[in-house]
Symmetry: D2
Subunit: 354 residues, 4 copies
């Protein structure tokens, strides 16, 4: 296409998620990286000299040459991706919204605020409507939008069609999460090689809260959280990328495995989402092989944006058991954020470049 | 001690569990290896020439020199440990019982039969009383006793005091199991390095069935299974030894984490079990550090016979969540079987050597 | 392109290398899979039902539907790829050559025979001329061609321009090889998780022999092996794909690191090879970052056909030390074989389909 | 024994090597931990509250209760173990020597100084004589002694009897080193799970230098380094503990594998070393199984103080190839330092407690 691309900025561009943003935006059809920003210690230096590039494809030359900017407005572009640490993200993201930018944040800071959408476009694109009350409440021309925590993203997407069809009442989830979810350097190898760590700080609470907001319904300019109970166990395993989650789920009335599988197979993104560049042909893939999904074999479906559900079978206590796999740094982080930005463009909330 | 030791035999002595038997019995105060037996292909050859020894301590010279026998009576010793494959174990174990031996089996074949005890001595030593109806029913002078599946052993032991104190009603468990649980060669490295496999053939059913038998009560010469529902997910992870299990559990009435922790801390083996050589000082250890237990750090407690319970905390749906770690080839296999044999000796069911 | 593709057959199509052939040929511009063959136990069954597909992309539907054939001529196509076990490959490959096929074999069986080319097209495409004496000697209308052992392929390719420029005299190599090099199930996870195995059966001899043949020169219709001494250590590590090799190398006269780097950077495939579909833009990439190449980060260069050389530095004893990384199942196996087949087509030795 | 033990102090007691000191000294027959010291940030706090204990045995209660001291004299005890970072070790270790203590250091800082012994007691206990010139040169009543870098320790010990018997001329070594060698947090899991890193900062130079000093001879109150050339490659692999090293070695005259094996098997520690508590029954064990030694199976020999040598075979270029395994945090760090301290006591250089 001959149209010019929309410039975007990346905050926290040198970290693990920041690098994934760089990778995903390198050849994006609509967006292009206009600026990268990081901590003051890095600002003013060449991105290629500072970043400890951990992606398995080469760092694009054009980005390597960018000079790292300060994490403060103005930065080029109406869309700003935030991969900042939660400790510092709050005031910075707000400053950009105040300066008129649409901030798409991967950070937990604003996720649970009433007027901030927590988005998985295939599941709740309508929550975008929170931006109007947000602007009124905050009195800023820009906006803050968030994507879910990495283990919640795959879970809530897989549950969305089931909740809509059958109404979830109770959910048990036990996760086995990849080390990339902890950033870099993140988990020490001495802690995880040949081992499992049955604890991820703050993660269980995030799953329990965020799932219910994502699957909630818009009512009077606010999200009414889905009314089901969630009990989560989170574990770290020696996997590089891909969170695997086992769940037991109970619905308002009895649901058979074949009915759930059919609902998942028939799930389609809403029209406003289906044609976004990052939306995969199928957001949810159902596996019938008994030992699948597995991170090593099933993670890259849909460029990492497809969630795979397998082993759908009866539960001796609730209705169903199943296994869910999602790509934690794509669907669970940067890929999800890029898709949200695409939705902003497609919906005309950010002006397309000409 | 000057007393002679009791000779025992090991069936399936060349496999992973068979090797663990050899290791645990190498310096046993009461028992000594009298014979090793394996498949016909190996029979007649020197044990040290056939076994692909995978233990991290040297193979004892005396055992290396033994000639491998056929898996058929007679073999030396009144106690026979069986580490046979389930495909062949049935008739062989029965033949030994018919020939007068006490067969302590690690194989699933006879576990769920009504007159066969499924034993974790600290939890249900009284189930030994099933041997009398077994002898009557079967008309054999020997006996068959079994220890639980590896993931069930740690789970049922940790639950035993809680069930006795509070009455379990519902149990969700999701496991992360070591590759040694699958024997040798077992899991291919191509399948598990940097990966998780969310499926272990037949394992979920074993957990669901065996837990209830172990925690059941003796009534009229039979076990009445505990009446609670179990829902299990089983997963294989890249760990050499140590099964980690996350559970959510509901009781007949509300139970607080501190009450459960107190019950677990106060748990003591019954007197007939407490002084057995393989019984650890504490069968259950409670961890208060938030990221424990972990296979790499907590597995060797009590020589692998201690189960560690951590992260005891409320569950948003049932009463409690917690994490359980057990040594799958010691408490979950050979160590448990040796302890059962010791119980037979201590109870006078097998004559002590003089 | 409108031309019909050339049908090819794959022998041993269900194994690890067989699967890589299926993957690489799925969308090949010149070739298409006409038949898959495997052991008698699998023959007659649907490929998709038999194969335990281990690639991280879906098995192509068209191939899944193929009925597995016997490993005996005739099979469709003038080119036959052999991923057979060395134990059975000899007579089968010869039968196909006798029946007129060009057999491109990944098996060691014929590699060292005097009239069989052992090919890395960028390095020794001229060795293809061995096919003429081969036909005369053997009296068959077809031909047998081979690609090197997986650890040799990367090594010999990286050394080729250095040998040509400076003349190798002595070579020490110590490898760290991925588990995929051992096929499936191959290395047991109990043997390699958290471990290293300092031994790969027969591998050191292969490196020592094959390197010298590949880098040898054609003389009077035979290859005169390169006259340098090779000492190899081979080790297995817990990596899925990618062989890493550290080498110390001495030349006829003193060579500086910068001279070697320049020769490697300037290396280009000969014209007859440069435009083959599988030939990467650069067969050899030189890394200057001090901790590279690494399997996880550098393996996929050139679709797995590029070898990466790093840490080129002086050696206290010989001239240079360096580190070489190659993709063991692409450059070291199926990808290399496919490139050889492409060369046969480009050279007009196999008729292009019309 | 009824005699009181000798109190010792540990500098850098909270790190990985510091923890190994705590573990090894917990039940030591001669020595007992009198004080633990660490950075100012930790000083004044309870050891058990500060240390992130990573050993697989419980932290001894008595040590947990110790208050962490400053890394400055005076600290209890005539022997001070230093596990300090090289960045800070120099002045601190010197201050303790000036204050009269015998400092046994695991840090590289003083290793290569002419009057500082670099010790592997079985190999060069006579180098202890450097302490006299050291005292004269430095004018201090105490002393500084060092143990080698972790990968050098195993290598130099295995080479010592060979060098003495045959005279080494050239040595190529390529290592595969465990992550515990990098301390905690050390190597990021994102960098090493399923991967190999072909670089360890400064390690190759250490091996090349230290080996020659250790195997050198005392002459006129100084060490004359062994005159052989060393070329090293160092690599990091996903192993928790245990450095594996492949070597090719050339001697002054031809040496056959069986001769080298005999020399290694016959090697015995000198009498002054043989009875030290940490000296293993055999400092060097020779393995004849073709795929050994391996970290997982052979590391714990001699409590981690035994080095295992395997695959002794001819080298196509030099005389011999072999594989060496050593425990990097025991023989390669804390265990070696404790043994050196024992030697000081046994030699009467530090007064035995009464």
């Amino acid at each position: 296409m001959t149209a010019r691309k929309i410039p975007v900025s990346i905050l926290g561009a040198t970290g693990t998620v920041g690098q994934k943003f760089v990778r995903l935006l390198a050849d994006h059809p609509w967006l292009e990286i206009g600026a990268v920003a990081a901590s003051s210690a890095s600002a003013g230096r060449r991105y290629g000299d500072v970043v400890r590039w951990r992606e398995a494809v080469p760092l694009p030359d054009r980005v390597a040459e960018l000079t790292i900017g300060q994490c403060a407005p103005p930065l080029e572009g109406a869309i700003v991706f935030s991969a900042l640490d939660a400790e510092v993200a709050g005031p910075i993201e707000q400053a950009f919204a105040r300066a008129g930018a649409h901030v798409v944040s991967n950070t937990r800071t604003h996720r649970m605020e009433a007027d901030v959408p927590l988005l998985i476009p295939e599941a709740n694109a309508d929550h975008l409507a929170l931006l109007e009350p947000q602007r009124q409440n905050r009195g800023w021309p820009g906006a803050i939008l968030t994507n879910p925590n990495c283990s919640t993203a795959a879970l809530a997407l897989a549950l969305a069609p089931l909740h809509r069809a059958f109404g979830i009442e109770r959910l048990f989830v036990s996760t086995m999460q990849a080390v990339s979810g902890a950033g870099y350097p993140g988990v020490a190898s001495l802690d995880i090689v040949g081992n499992v760590i049955p604890h991820i700080e703050g993660e269980e609470e995030k799953i329990e809260r965020e799932c219910r907001k994502i699957l909630g319904v818009l009512k009077n300019g606010a999200v009414e959280p889905a009314e089901f109970a969630v009990s989560a166990h989170t574990n770290r395993v020696a996997v590089i990328e891909g969170h695997l989650e086992t769940i037991s789920v109970g619905f308002r009335s009895k649901v058979l495995p074949e009915d759930a599988a059919a609902v998942l197979r028939d799930f389609r993104a809403p029209p406003c989402v289906a044609d976004l560049p990052s939306t995969p042909a199928r957001a949810i893939e159902v596996e019938s092989r008994p030992d699948r999904p597995q991170p090593r074999l099933d993670l890259e479906r849909g460029g990492g944006m497809t969630v795979t559900v397998g082993r759908i079978r009866p539960c001796p206590i609730l209705d169903l058991r199943m296994v869910i796999l999602g790509h934690n740094t794509v669907r669970g982080a940067a890929g999800q954020a890029v898709q949200i930005a695409e939705l902003l463009v497609a919906e005309g909330r950010v002006e397309r470049a000409r």
